[in-house]
C-alpha cells in the first residue's frame, strides 16, 4: 500500500471516530445531569467535531475526488464508515457515557502524544493542537470515573457495570491494519505498543483510585475499521444525514 492511500485511510478512521463520538455527545445536550456538566460535555463534543472536520477534510484532499468533510460525513453509507465500534455505542446512563469516553480519551491522549512526532506535517500540527483539547477530555472523564467509583454504592455499581459492558470494544483501538503499519514504518504514526502500554498504566491508575476492578474478559469485538458495525450506527446516520439526503441538491453552508 502506498503512503498516500494509507494516510487517507488513517484520516478517515480517526475522523470517523471523532465524528461519531461527537454525535453521541450532542445527544446529551440539554439533558445532562446538571448544567455545569452539560457545558463540560458540550466542550468535549465541540473539540471532537472540530477534529473530525480537520481529519475528514484531509482525507478528502488525499482522496483527490474534490470531497470535503461534509461530503464524507453526510454522503457515505454505513458500510463506508470506519469508526471504532466503541464510539457508536449508545449513551446509556451517565456512567455508560463516561466509561466510553474514558477509554477513548485515554487512548486518544497517548496516541496524540505519539503523533506529535509525525513525519507528516499536517498530522504533526493536528496532534499539537488537539492534544491540548484531549488533555482536558481525559481529565474530565477520569474525574467522573473516580467520582462514580468512589461516590455512592449506586454510582460505584453503575460505573463498574459500565466498564464491564464497554470493555470488549476497547481492543479495537490497538489493532494494526495494513494502512497503519505502512504509516508506522514511514514514521508517520506512533508505535501502538507504546501507546498501549501508556494507556494500560493510566487505566490501571484511574480504576484503582476509583476502587474499580479491571475486567478480566479477553474477548474483543472488531469490525469497525472494515465498515462492519453494530446495529447502532445505521440509526445514527439516518438522523445525521436526513437533511442532506432528503434535499440532495441543496447547499446548507
Amino acid at each position: 500500500m502506498d503512503v498516500k492511500e494509507a494516510l487517507k485511510i488513517f484520516a478517515l478512521n480517526h475522523g470517523d471516530d471523532a465524528l461519531v463520538l461527537s454525535h453521541r455527545i450532542t445527544e446529551w445536550c440539554g439533558h445532562g445531569p446538571e448544567l455545569e456538566e452539560d457545558i463540560a460535555l458540550s466542550n468535549v463534543g465541540l473539540d471532537l467535531l472540530g477534529q473530525a472536520q480537520s481529519l475528514l477534510n484531509y482525507a478528502g484532499e488525499l482522496g483527490g475526488e474534490g470531497k470535503n468533510a461534509d461530503d464524507l460525513a453526510y454522503r457515505r453509507r454505513e458500510r463506508e464508515f470506519t469508526s471504532l465500534l466503541l464510539v457508536e455505542q449508545p449513551n446509556g446512563n451517565y456512567a455508560n457515557t463516561i466509561a466510553r469516553q474514558f477509554f477513548y480519551d485515554t487512548f486518544h491522549y497517548y496516541f496524540l502524544q505519539g503523533l506529535k512526532n509525525s513525519q507528516d506535517e499536517f498530522l504533526k500540527g493536528f496532534a499539537e493542537k488537539s492534544i491540548k483539547e484531549v488533555a482536558y477530555h481525559l481529565r474530565h472523564s477520569s474525574k467522573w470515573v473516580i467520582i462514580f467509583g468512589d461516590g455512592t454504592d449506586e454510582s460505584h455499581q453503575k460505573i463498574q457495570e459500565a466498564v464491564e459492558q464497554i470493555w470488549k470494544y476497547t481492543g479495537e483501538m490497538f489493532e494494526v491494519s495494513e494502512a497503519y503499519s505502512t504509516l508506522q514504518k514511514a514514521n508517520i504514526l506512533p508505535n501502538l505498543d507504546e501507546v498501549k502500554s501508556n494507556y494500560q498504566t493510566k487505566i490501571s491508575e484511574v480504576l484503582a483510585e476509583a476502587k474499580l476492578k479491571i475486567p478480566e474478559g479477553t474477548f474483543m469485538s472488531t469490525g469497525g475499521r472494515n465498515g462492519i458495525h453494530t446495529e447502532n450506527l445505521g440509526y445514527m446516520l439516518t438522523e445525521m444525514q436526513y437533511l442532506v439526503r432528503t434535499y440532495p441538491d441543496a447547499n446548507w453552508d
Binding site: P33, E154, Y242, Y247, A250
Partner: protein, 312 residues
C-alpha cells in the same frame, strides 16, 4: 430607621443611577420581583436549550452543527449566571429549579412551540434571540448590579446567536425553492409568537409601572415590541421573505411600522400550559433532573469523603 425613609432613599439612589448591590437595603417587593424575573429568565435559558437541541443531531453540515452546539452551550452558561445572580438576592438555585420542575415557575412561553424543520433553528436564532436581545440590552442598565452585569456578558453572546440564526434563514431564502419555502414557513409560524415574547400590551401589564419606577425595566413592552418589529421587518425584506401580517405597513408620520392584532388568547393559553409543547418541555427537564440525581449525589458523596480525608 423608618421604612418610609429607607424607601425614599432607595428611590433617590435608583433615580441617581447608582446600582443596587446585594448587601444594600432594598424593598422586599423589589427583591421578590427581581428573584421572580431573574429566575424566570434563567429557566427560559435552560428550557430554551430543548427546542434547539431537537435539531442538533440533524444539523446538515459540520459547521452548522458546531455553531448550534456552541450556541446551546452558551444558553446553559446564561442559565448559570442568572441562577447565580438570583442567589445574590437570597434565593437558592435548588429551590428555584424545583419550582420550575413542579410547574410552579414560569419560563418564556416561546419555548413551548415546536421546532419542526431545520429552518426553525434559523428562525429561533433570528427572531427569538433577536427579541431576547431587545429586552436584554435594556436590562444591562437594570438598577440591580449583579443582574445588569450578568446581562452585559450575556448580550455579547446573544448577538452571535441572532446572527447565526439570520444566516441560516438567509441561506435558505437564497437556496432551492424547497429551502426558500422552508424559510418562509418558519417565519410564518414564529413571527407572531416572537411578538408575544415582549408580554402583554402596556395597558394590560399591571406590574410594569413599578418595574419602570425601580428601573428594573426602562422600556415598556409595547416600545420594545415596536423596536423589534421595525428592525426585523427590514431584515426579512432584505432576504426576500414576507412577514405574515397583512396589516403591516410603514407609518411615515410615526416613523414606525403599524402592525396587525396579536392573538392574545393564544398567548394566555400557552401560559396556562396549553401550548403545543408545554408538557414535553417540562417532562424533558424533569427526566433530565431525575436521571441525573444519582450523578449529583455521587459528586456530593465524593466531595464529602475528600473533605474528611483532608481534615484527617
Amino acid at each position: 430607621m423608618d421604612e418610609n425613609i429607607l424607601l425614599e432613599n432607595f428611590q433617590k439612589k435608583v433615580d441617581a443611577e447608582i446600582k443596587v448591590e446585594p448587601k444594600d437595603w432594598m424593598p422586599e417587593k423589589y427583591r421578590k420581583t427581581l428573584i421572580r424575573q431573574i429566575s424566570q429568565h434563567a429557566h427560559s435559558e435552560v428550557v430554551g436549550m430543548l427546542p434547539e437541541a431537537n435539531w442538533l443531531t440533524r444539523a446538515p453540515s459540520l459547521r452548522r452543527k458546531m455553531i448550534l452546539l456552541a450556541k446551546i452551550q452558551d444558553e446553559a452558561g446564561h442559565g448559570l449566571y442568572l441562577y447565580s445572580s438570583a442567589e445574590t438576592l437570597g434565593a437558592d438555585r435548588q429551590d428555584l429549579i424545583e419550582e420550575l420542575l413542579s410547574g410552579k415557575a414560569k419560563y418564556s412561553s416561546i419555548f413551548n412551540y415546536p421546532t419542526l424543520t431545520w429552518a426553525d433553528i434559523g428562525a429561533v436564532g433570528w427572531l427569538v434571540d433577536g427579541a431576547a436581545i431587545m429586552n436584554q440590552v435594556m436590562l444591562t442598565r437594570a438598577s440591580y448590579g449583579p443582574y445588569a452585569r450578568a446581562m452585559v456578558r450575556i448580550c455579547k453572546e446573544e448577538s452571535f446567536h441572532q446572527r447565526q440564526g439570520f444566516e441560516i434563514v438567509a441561506n435558505l431564502a437564497n437556496g432551492t425553492p424547497e429551502q426558500k419555502e422552508m424559510a418562509q414557513d418558519a417565519l410564518n409560524r414564529w413571527w407572531w409568537p416572537s411578538l408575544m415574547m415582549f408580554g402583554p400590551t402596556d395597558d394590560n401589564s399591571p406590574n410594569s409601572a413599578l418595574s419602570m419606577k425601580w428601573k428594573i425595566k426602562r422600556k415598556s413592552n409595547d416600545e420594545l415590541r415596536q423596536d423589534f418589529i421595525d428592525r426585523t421587518v427590514q431584515q426579512a425584506e432584505a432576504i426576500g421573505l414576507t412577514v405574515p401580517d397583512k396589516d403591516l405597513k410603514w407609518n411615515e408620520e410615526k416613523g414606525h411600522y403599524d402592525f396587525g392584532t396579536i392573538n392574545w388568547d393564544e398567548f394566555f393559553e400557552v401560559i396556562k400550559g396549553n401550548g403545543p409543547c408545554n408538557q414535553e418541555r417540562l417532562s424533558a427537564r424533569q427526566e433530565a433532573y431525575n436521571k441525573g440525581s444519582w450523578v449529583r449525589e455521587a459528586a456530593k458523596a465524593y466531595a464529602a469523603k475528600k473533605q474528611v480525608s483532608k481534615a484527617a
